[in-house]
């Protein structure tokens, strides 16, 4: 057994152990804490699987932003825990669920142990077209060119989710600001962090976006980091949470998908149709789209965490 193998076995066992903890933990808060470390461990697993792009996304979004969201929810919902403890479902449901889960797991495990050989892969096909796109990171090429429509539709999913979150506001607060109130004193430590970290974070976010074309990184990962910085600034109270009726805010939210769609429509004038890029402008176009997408993603992710409007609109 090599050292790398020992690391992998340890990591895999740890991931499963933390997962068991999340399911079995006594309090929701403890489970959420477990979930954040679960996300980070999973990011390591992704790195071990040679998927650095995914590792970055998992760490930033799967663990970081999701963790922040769940943590807030767990602390707000703490009073309800003791009450709902009495509603444990019966033994019958437990048995059914356990049998189902074991069946699915066993089936999957069996399939994992008899892999298709040779393993199918689109990597060679993806590699062939990279020079035409002038993009060196194959994952970016898949997201922005080969399977661009998935990315585009997923942006619409994000927008719908945000509208869904906003829709949960009481009528009178529509147009107002989300309820992410400042939690620290102006001279507190958090304020210090919110002053020091964002400049670095913004540079890192832009860097990650920029290298996306040649190395792991891209709009999602960069956007998530920018969103985190924005949230930090808002929580520390250095900048107010914007009211959701603001025109500039709406524009930032949609500029990414809008530009993407416009370029897509422009493709109708090209031989390859919707969502194709003109040969000589491929790389600049992809970069422009990625930049605006990053802006929109950062804004949407941030506002998804900030939640529905909870204050009346200022007149």
């Amino acid at each position: 057994m090599t050292a790398a193998m020992v690391l992998d076995v340890g990591l895999a066992l740890l991931v499963v152990a933390v997962a068991v903890w999340i399911v079995a933990a006594g309090s929701a808060f403890a489970a959420v804490v477990g979930f954040v470390s679960f996300g980070l461990l999973l990011a390591l697993a992704w790195a071990r699987l040679a998927a650095v792009d995914v590792a970055l996304t998992e760490a930033a979004i799967g663990s970081g932003v999701t963790g922040a969201l769940l943590m807030t929810a767990a602390s707000r919902l703490r009073p309800t825990e003791s009450r709902s403890a009495g509603e444990r479902p019966g033994a019958f449901l437990h048995v059914v669920a356990a049998v189902l889960a074991v069946l699915v797991s066993a089936g999957l495990a069996a399939l994992v142990l008899i892999p298709a050989s040779p393993a199918p892969s689109l990597a060679p096909a993806a590699a062939v077209h990279l020079p035409e796109l002038d993009v060196l990171n194959p994952v970016t090429a898949v997201l922005m060119a080969y399977r661009a429509v998935d990315t585009l539709l997923e942006k619409i999913v994000l927008l719908l989710a945000l509208i869904g979150v906003w829709s949960l506001a009481p009528d009178r607060f529509w147009g107002g600001a989300p309820g992410l109130w400042p939690r620290s004193r102006p001279d507190g430590e958090l304020t210090l962090l919110a002053r020091l970290l964002p400049p670095i974070g913004i540079v890192v976010g832009i860097y990650i976006l920029w290298v996306g074309a040649i190395a792991p990184g891209g709009a999602f990962q960069g956007g998530a980091i920018l969103a985190a910085m924005w949230l930090l600034i808002m929580i520390a109270g250095l900048r107010p949470v914007p009211e959701i009726h603001r025109q500039w805010l709406r524009l930032v939210l949609v500029v990414g998908p809008a530009v993407f769609l416009t370029v897509g429509f422009a493709g109708f004038f090209l031989p390859n149709g919707f969502l194709s890029y003109p040969a000589q402008f491929t790389k600049p176009l992809i970069i422009v789209i990625e930049v605006v997408l990053t802006l929109s993603i950062a804004a949407i992710l941030g506002l998804l965490v900030a939640g529905p409007p909870e204050r009346e609109r200022q007149r």
Binding site: E189, L192, L193, I200
Partner: protein, 97 residues
């Protein structure tokens, strides 16, 4: 020269690992939140510092070295501030209890 660098790396990283181990044991064994924080911060500051220091000779260029140091500095900053916040929360909880 190479051997010297490598042995320095091994030494420093191992020392860092010892601090992490001690910190983790402390986190698990200490009785209250404040002393657990204490154990954890030691691991963060010194352990990570030693690991980064150990890795510096292995850096392939000044940019990589700079990134390593940045990682350490950021961890320091975040660690210090989060510790403060947790400690404050603990004190508030104690006062309420």
């Amino acid at each position: 020269m190479r051997v010297l660098f490598d042995s320095f790396t091994v030494l420093a990283v191992s020392a860092g690992a010892v601090f992490f181990l001690a910190g983790t044991v402390g986190l698990l064994r200490f009785p209250d939140s404040l002393s657990r924080l204490h154990a954890l911060t030691k691991a963060d500051n010194l352990g990570l510092g030693l690991v980064v220091l150990g890795l510096l000779p292995q850096a392939t260029g000044p940019l990589v070295a700079l990134k390593l140091i940045t990682v350490w500095l950021l961890a320091q900053l975040a660690g210090a501030i989060v510790t403060q916040l947790v400690a404050r929360a603990v004190r508030r909880e104690n006062q309420e209890a």
